[in-house]
């Protein structure tokens, strides 16, 4: 039976982890490679780096981090943030990323998803959708961390990226992100019901119960979380044991 995945996400800015783990055993709290290794050793099913570096000059740093991490972590590595060109994808994959996640570039031009999945295979193309609720049962796609409204319906867009070869959708609720009040389960359920590719839930996790809701109520194939793991509130192992105790199948 296919297991539900737990994916810790590390935000990286100019080569340093933002909001890092506060574990005592850490030598350098800002080193993404060391943190990824802790997650991987702790049983993470996949690791996600989100590059939030604002300037283009520092793009090379994420590639370097991926290169170092891939030599030490032997679980899938997904990298997102600022992926705009085929060259960006090539650089990340050659450095050792297994999947890249495309956000703004997919919204601007869905053909980019098609081109990328044709060139590299759907298995490594994740489309990250940031959605905000606009009315009852209606969500809209936003870009630039929720600042820019696009007028595109989230469900239509999810179907469109699937048609264009995306292998997975990383769905973030901009209403819930950072609130620790749980995923937007209605949004998740709506998207998982309207697409046939796996959906990774993101945005809003504050408790282990929220992970359960994302999988069981939202229908997500994987759950992504940042702060509950970063601050050491829970370890990956705690999350898995909790889900297992509630009959959600995970890799123990």
């Amino acid at each position: 039976m296919l297991k539900n995945r737990i994916i810790p996400c590390l935000d990286v800015k100019n080569g340093r982890v933002v909001k890092g783990i506060n574990f005592v055993e850490l030598k350098d709290a800002g080193d993404p490679v060391e943190q990824a290794k802790i997650y991987s050793d702790g049983g993470a099913d996949e690791i996600c780096f989100l590059d939030i570096t604002a300037s283009n000059e520092n793009r090379e740093t994420i590639v370097d981090i991926v290169r170092k991490t891939a030599k030490e972590c032997f679980v899938p590595l997904t990298v997102g943030g600022g992926v705009r060109t085929i060259q960006n994808i090539t650089d990340l994959l050659l450095a050792g990323a297994d999947k890249v996640s495309i956000n703004t570039a997919a919204v601007k031009n869905v053909d980019f998803v098609k081109e990328a999945s044709k060139k590299f295979g759907s298995q490594c193309i994740v489309v990250a959708i940031d959605a905000k609720q606009v009315s009852e049962n209606k969500w809209e796609v936003f870009t630039h961390g929720g600042r820019n409204k696009t007028g595109i319906d989230a469900v239509d867009f999810a179907k469109k990226v699937e048609e264009n070869g995306a292998g997975e959708i990383l769905l973030t609720s901009m209403d819930k992100d950072g609130t620790k009040s749980g995923y937007d389960v209605d949004l998740l359920r709506t998207i998982t019901n309207s697409t046939n590719i796996p959906v990774i839930a993101s945005g809003g996790v504050g408790t282990l119960d929220h992970l359960y809701d994302g999988i069981v109520k939202g229908g997500a194939s994987a759950v992504l979380a940042a702060s509950i793991f970063h601050y050491g509130e829970y370890k990956i192992k705690d999350a898995k044991e909790y889900l297992n105790s509630k009959n959600v199948s995970v890799r123990l």
Binding site: R5, F74, G96, Q123, G167
Partner: protein, 208 residues
Amino acid sequence: MNVTIVDYQSGNISSVINSFTEVAKGKVYLEVTSDIKKIKSSDKIVLPGQGSFKSCVDSLNSISGLADTLKEFAITNKKPLLGICVGLQMFADIGYEEAETKGLGWISGKVSKIDNQKGKFKLPHIGWNEIEIKKESKIFKQIKNKSHMYFVHSYEFIPEDKSVISATTNYSSNIVCSVERDNLFGTQFHPEKSDKIGLKVIDNFLKL
């Protein structure tokens, strides 16, 4: 010992290189190449494969003499070869991804899309799934039945001769996830991304 990872522009092989490098540390000489001479003189071959069946077969065939060299190595001389993901799928006679495409024909059978029961199961089959070991396998030494391996694929290999199947995994149906015949090995899952247990599979192959 010389082990060659065949680089035939089959997509992203960085993870395969990284994990084999990790396991081989100081014990095995690893070469990443499509050079026919080097392939011929190696002791073992790893045949990765990402993307579609068609794109992999096309890339492999675009390198003159490669398919024949691999066949002579693995089939005629029965030297160890491990195919990973589409690398395994190419052992088949025929594949149906993108367009009907002739495979290497080393193990009779076909590669077709996983029946997802009218959308009841999501595709690609992505993530960690348990393997059900079907026969004793040299690459599964010290690997417990129902170990978790990492998968990412939408197509499955269906061999005619079921005796080649060394493991299956349960998704929408029982999917063949590993085959073995003589010294020919193939895994549908990615040992290079399957954590310590996956590295053990690689170690077993390198120790053959």
